[in-house]
């Protein structure tokens, strides 16, 4: 293997592509040849590096200097100053504090431990960091039931929002004695403010595939689907490439590792519908129908896609599995409190100093996440609320900022972890407007299958619109709560049932704002 003096990790994701990273890379490579450095320095494509919303971003190893917001004009400077003379260019360095925070955070990661460090399009790099060891261990040393037991022991719960214990979910399907079981990966990430699954798939697609393989082996499935939303073009390409590489290496396909076990993984592409994140709606969509939810029971684990027993798991959930099998349930349980083991990936957005992502142990307080990983509030802004868990989440006021982020603690405040989105709202933004935006989103995404949701979201939208335009009445607030509560009890799926959460929490904590706008 050829040795290089320096490696440059170039973040290629939706955000940097937007800034023209592809062209940037071509020019950089050309310049390296011109400076006669192409034998010493190698540019690697990598996943997102952490700093978000910062244009083209790269990190130079071994010193790990992160430069951001780069233009093609900066290439000469980087080569001359940094690569030849060894002098970091101060004005281009990403806020040191933010980088340190991000690096400090690396050691404690399970899901994103490789993201930004390896080339996601090269299976060898994943193998070099111990990739597919868990898969080999499972196939050659463990029985399917051992895998399920280990996952049960780990206490891993679904990361898609509902938080159902993963091992238990698998055991239902494993117990059914048929040959045509299915694994489906729910990568139809549509919850506003959430893009953790995109980052996982863009940064470390092989980890997800390894998780899929382990899940398939555990329940006895020989076919798996990754359902990716149509907008995530880069994810689709990277997962497709990763599957091809696995087939080439004999990690997937027929008679894997000479054990006689066969597995194929296929990709399904969505067409833009939030409700398809609901597992039965996703299955309908996979079959080529309108993505509306099915009635449960029968649960997908018993009768899912094409009436075959189907395990549907979220991307983040499955990306935890390789770690659990490789290092054991006890290593996993070291992270987080008893009831909610492991780590969680959060996306921190809105009026914070550094919007971005982080992966931390369950049970860390919301305040810590916002202050340590989001860098606190943006200058000149004060904290008003955080919408936690996506649109179907809860507005958390300042007085509750010390809430621990885990399933049990959040439940005490009728809040949910949801998808892990944390949208921080500054004091200058009206909560009436915010709630209006949330309800508008639900009205648009209600699928139309059941009346409580399709009529309810529309009616709520009309009410909030009246309030927003200053012609609402005090009684409207009670009516909104009553209607949302009715939807909670009568709507067909979680979409309609969960609208009570943002409405209730907004009215409980910020009622004055709603009343003030009426007086005007």
């Amino acid at each position: 293997m050829k040795l290089y003096r320096s490696h440059i990790l170039l973040a290629i994701d939706e955000a940097s592509k937007l800034a023209g990273v592809v062209e940037f890379k071509d020019i950089f490579e050309q310049k390296l040849i011109e400076y006669n450095l192409s034998d010493e320095i190698k540019i690697l494509e990598s996943g997102p590096l952490g700093p978000l919303g910062s244009g083209i971003c790269l990190s130079i190893f071994p010193e790990n200097t992160v430069y951001y917001n780069l233009k093609t004009d900066d290439i000469d400077l980087i080569i001359k100053e940094h690569l030849i003379k060894g002098r970091p260019i101060k004005k281009l360095i990403y806020n040191r504090e933010a980088v340190e925070r991000y690096n400090y955070n690396y050691s404690n990661r399970i899901v994103l431990d490789n993201s930004g460090l390896i080339d996601p399009e090269n299976i060898d790099e994943y193998l070099a960091v111990g990739g597919y060891e868990a898969w080999e261990k499972a196939l050659t040393q463990l029985k399917p039931n051992d895998v399920i037991e280990e996952v049960k022991q780990s206490g891993l719960r679904g990361r898609g929002g509902a938080g159902f214990p993963t091992g238990l979910k698998w055991s239902f399907t494993a117990a059914i004695d048929v040959q045509d079981k299915l694994i489906v990966v729910n990568a139809d990430e549509g919850e506003p403010g959430t893009f953790k699954d995109r980052l996982i798939m863009e940064g470390d697609p092989h980890k997800l595939l390894e998780g899929v393989m382990l899940a398939a082996y555990a329940v006895g499935a020989h076919e798996a689907y990754v359902y990716i939303r149509g907008e995530y073009k880069l994810c689709i390409n990277r997962i497709r490439k990763a599957i091809e590489q696995c087939l080439e290496y004999g990690i997937l396909g027929e008679n894997i590792f000479d054990t006689g076990y066969n597995l194929v993984i296929k990709i399904k592409i969505g067409a833009g519908a939030y409700v398809c994140g609901e597992e039965t709606a996703l299955i309908e969509s996979m079959e080529g129908y309108r993505g509306t939810p099915r009635s449960k029971p029968p649960f997908p684990g018993v009768k899912g896609a094409w009436q075959r027993p189907t395990v549907v798991n979220n991307v983040e959930t499955l990306s935890n599995i390789p770690f659990i099998i490789k290092n054991g349930a006890d290593a996993f349980k070291k992270h987080g409190p008893e009831e909610s083991t492991g780590t969680k990936v959060y996306t921190i957005l809105g009026d914070v100093a550094f919007p971005g992502l982080c992966e931390v142990d369950m049970g860390v307080t919301l305040r810590e996440i916002i202050d340590n990983y989001g860098g606190g509030m943006k200058q000149d802004k004060k904290f008003k609320a955080a919408l936690v868990g996506g649109a179907a989440g809860v507005f958390i006021p300042e007085s509750l900022l010390d809430v621990k982020m885990d399933y049990a603690s959040l439940k005490e405040y009728s809040a949910v972890l949801g998808s892990g989105a944390i949208l921080v709202i500054g004091d200058d933004f009206s909560m009436v407007e915010m709630l209006y935006s949330v309800i508008r989103f639900f009205r648009h995404e209600s699928c139309g299958k059941c009346s409580p949701c399709s009529k309810g979201t529309h009616e709520l939208f009309m009410m909030i619109n009246r309030i927003r335009n200053g012609i609402g009445k005090k009684e409207d607030l009670d009516k909104m709560l009553l209607l949302a509560d009715t939807m909670k009890h009568t709507a067909f799926c979680a979409l309609g049932q969960s609208l009570i959460m943002p409405i209730q929490s907004a009215l409980d904590n910020y009622k004055d704002e709603f009343l003030a706008i009426m007086k005007e």
């Binding site: 939706e14 955000a15 592509k17 937007l18 978000l52 919303g53 990430e189 549509g190 919850e191 506003p192 403010g193 959430t194 893009f195 995109r198 939303r229 149509g230 907008e231 995530y232 073009k233 592409i269 969505g270 067409a271 833009g272 519908a273 939030y274 969509s285 996979m286 079959e287 080529g288 129908y289 309108r290 993505g291 509306t292 996306t347 957005l349 809105g350 009026d351 919007p355 971005g356 919408l387 649109a391 989105a421 949208l423 709202i425 933004f429 407007e433 915010m434 935006s437 949330v438 508008r440 989103f441 648009h444 995404e445 699928c447």
Partner: protein, 152 residues
């Protein structure tokens, strides 16, 4: 005229969404015509009414002819917080159309959409396959003018 597309897929219901994606992407006006629906129905042995059911359900499909550049602006809460409503007002002013409409020269169609998953750069819009983020009224003016110029 759709045979070439059909030949890539087996005539099974589960391929319907792929086929529709493919037909739409290859149509110069970015939509799925009545005639296309009939052809797909014949190929998959599915009633046209069912195909329309699917077609109108998913936001990525259109049954009306659209412009060369399809602008999809995210209006979910994270983008809303960062001022997506101002951006949509600006786009409407620049293009002189409402949301859901196409300009007279068939160059632009303006749509809104749900979260695109690039919230670190809110507000965000997609024009065809490309994502544009950190939008301001000035930036969208530049982008639109640039795209208008391409016609000349």
């Amino acid at each position: 005229m759709y045979e070439k597309i059909f030949s890539k897929y087996t005539p099974e219901r589960e391929n319907l969404i792929y086929i529709l994606h493919d037909i739409q992407d290859n149509h110069p006006q970015n939509y799925i015509s009545e005639e296309a629906v009939a052809a797909v129905g014949k190929y998959l042995r599915v009633a046209p009414a069912h195909i329309y059911g699917v077609l109108t359900f998913y936001t990525m499909f259109s049954t009306k002819p659209r412009g060369k550049n399809i602008i999809r602006l995210c209006e979910s809460p994270p983008c809303f917080l960062k001022g997506s409503d101002k951006i949509i007002a600006k786009l409407r002013e620049l293009l002189n159309i409402r949301v859901g409409e196409t300009t007279g020269d068939e160059l632009f169609t303006l749509e809104t959409c749900a979260c695109l998953g690039v919230c670190g750069n809110a507000p965000v819009m997609m024009i065809n396959e490309d994502v544009y983020g950190d939008l301001t009224e000035e930036i969208v003016t530049v982008i639109i003018n640039k795209l208008k110029g391409e016609k000349l």
